[in-house]
């Protein structure tokens, strides 16, 4: 059995890689731009979990991973605010937010 208290790092890494894969799947398959952004949030969260896990079990001071995780959270906030503003702009101009239909910049 893969008990958490016996193999904490492995358990957490498997969990975070599963969430990472769900995030990638969301990004690849969704048509809606807001949904894609949610996929990105999933990926960022799984990465954060990895950082904190390693910070807890590998780093002696137990702080660097936490610092990186904080910066990731701040960057996620920044990224989400700008991305959603762009999506809103697209919606105002084209009336839709499906990424596969927005091909007017292609040529």
């Amino acid at each position: 059995m893969l008990w958490f208290t016996k193999y904490p790092v492995e358990n957490l890494l498997i969990l975070s890689s599963a969430v990472f894969c769900f995030g990638i799947y969301t990004i690849v398959t969704r048509k809606n731009a807001v949904s894609i952004l949610m996929g990105v949030e999933l990926v960022l969260n799984s990465v954060n979990l990895n950082f904190i896990t390693f910070s807890q079990f590998v780093d002696n001071a137990g702080i660097s991973g936490n610092m990186v995780a904080i910066f990731v959270i701040v960057l996620a906030a920044a990224e989400a605010s700008v991305a959603l503003a762009i999506i809103l702009g697209i919606y105002q101009n084209f009336g839709r937010v499906d990424v596969d239909k927005l091909t007017s910049l292609r040529n």
């Binding site: 958490f4 969704r30 807001v34 949610m38 910070s55």
Partner: protein
Amino acid sequence: MSLNEILLNIIFYALALTGLFSSFMVATSTNMVRTAFSLLGVLFSFAGLYGLLRADFLFAAQILVYVGGILVLIIFAIMLTHKIANVNLSNESTSSSTVIAVVCILFAVLVFIALTLPEYIKINQRNKPLTEMIGNNLLSDSLLPFEILSVLLLACLIGAVYLARKEVKE
């Protein structure tokens, strides 16, 4: 195994299953708003895991910024870009067996890496509360990234507000 360990295991697996199920719903739900509220489940379960890993400041920051901020922003954006009074907001996805296969391979590789990691050290014992250590670190080692963050946030604020406002006037 002692009682404490059993409880820890139960809590971890409960949180992990919540997170997995919610992220599965984020990936596959056909209803836009339900997708967003599934993301809420992921965020809460991850916050719980941070708590389990003794990262208390991250626990609070996750809930405060992600749940109270980013998710609210996402829901507002959904409300602004959809015909919201319609309950069944569709959230289409194009899934093919190729995509699923590639993602499964990716997962297999990641699990393989996770299981073949070298033996790791025990849980480290911090001698100070985490928040205090982070505060000291922000004022010494990571001072430069910290100040750069403020410039980034400034750029974000101005840029995003400009983008959002431009559309109002047209």
